[in-house]
Subunit: 167 residues, 2 copies
DNA sequence: TATTGTTATACTCTATAACTATA
DNA sequence: TATAGTTATAGAGTATAACAATA
């Protein structure tokens, strides 16, 4: 490992034993991005998870609460309050699915699309700032690599029975 | 965005609105790595956070509990029990720092170094599996990119006063 | 007066269990 | 019998506050 100093720490002061763990750094990077986005979304009156729901709905005609819980790796009981919040603000609508009346058909509204656009702009800004040390080429490689790494995860996730999913 | 299907979802079924958020994927990737490592370390009788403490100590002569809490972004009160656990198993030692008797001088033992080596091997195995879709070149680029992105974070973290740190 | 480490407590968040309605 | 959604509750995890010892 390069950039190592005499006392075993790297530039920035992180001990080498930690700095050399890509998983640790990646995990904290995800945490950092989330914290910054949480702060950036505060003026819009939503949390990151609301934004993620809007992001899902913005690219799908409609989704059920269960489907959304699966994608976000959240417990289905948490989706209740989440969709409640969005519905109360007119950002999405809930309607019973005619072909399976147990399910809701959740759809994003015009107001929801608008808020999503603004929130997405904030998310992109945060990404710009956090990934600023990288060249645009490096950013593309990073983005593509993460997507490629996660593909088998999402595929496996899809096959897993709901009631046994470990979160 | 490539690989998009008619209904707005990507291969693997993740809605495009989510899949295109690198931050979301990166965040879940960190979560996935952590979950898998948690499971891999169970036979060793330690959790990921114990491993991270050992990893720090393995590359430093000694550290105080405060320093370790800062590096791991954990509340200092949590370090008490964590070091308790390790000390009880003979994996580290606690001694008062002679030059500042408020601080502990936490040092890793031979048994601690041995357990760290075994845990690190598990961590590397998990990394191998998760990053398997990438070429070794891509892995190097990814690892280096994450480290580069996080450098300013750790530098800023170091400067931040302890009692005001937001976690 | 400020800081390290500690304990006990309060709080936040999430999962669990039980329920209704649909299938 | 199983699943979608809901509610209330219990549990895990974390931070907060207060303290002792030291600087």
């Amino acid at each position: 490992m390069a950039d190592q100093t005499a006392d075993g720490s790297l530039r920035g002061g992180l001990p080498a034993g930690l700095a050399s763990l890509t998983g640790f750094q990646l995990s904290k990077c995800g945490w950092w991005l989330e914290q910054r986005l949480e702060a950036a979304l505060e003026p819009l009156g939503i949390r990151v998870r609301h934004f993620l729901v809007l992001a899902m709905l913005s690219s799908s005609d409609s989704l059920s609460q269960q489907e959304m819980a699966d994608f976000l790796l959240l417990d289905p009981t948490l989706m209740v309050g989440l969709v409640d919040d969005l519905e109360a603000r007119g950002l999405c609508t809930r309607a019973r699915n005619p072909s399976d009346r147990r399910r809701y058909t959740v759809r994003i509204t015009e107001a929801g699309l608008d808020l999503h656009r603004r929130a997405r702009a904030h998310a992109d800004d945060v990404g710009e700032e956090v990934f600023e040390p990288l060249s645009s080429d490096e950013r593309r490689v990073l983005s593509r690599a993460i997507g490629q790494v996660m593909e088998p995860f999402w595929a496996e996730q899809k096959l897993r029975p709901r009631h046994k999913s470990a979160r």
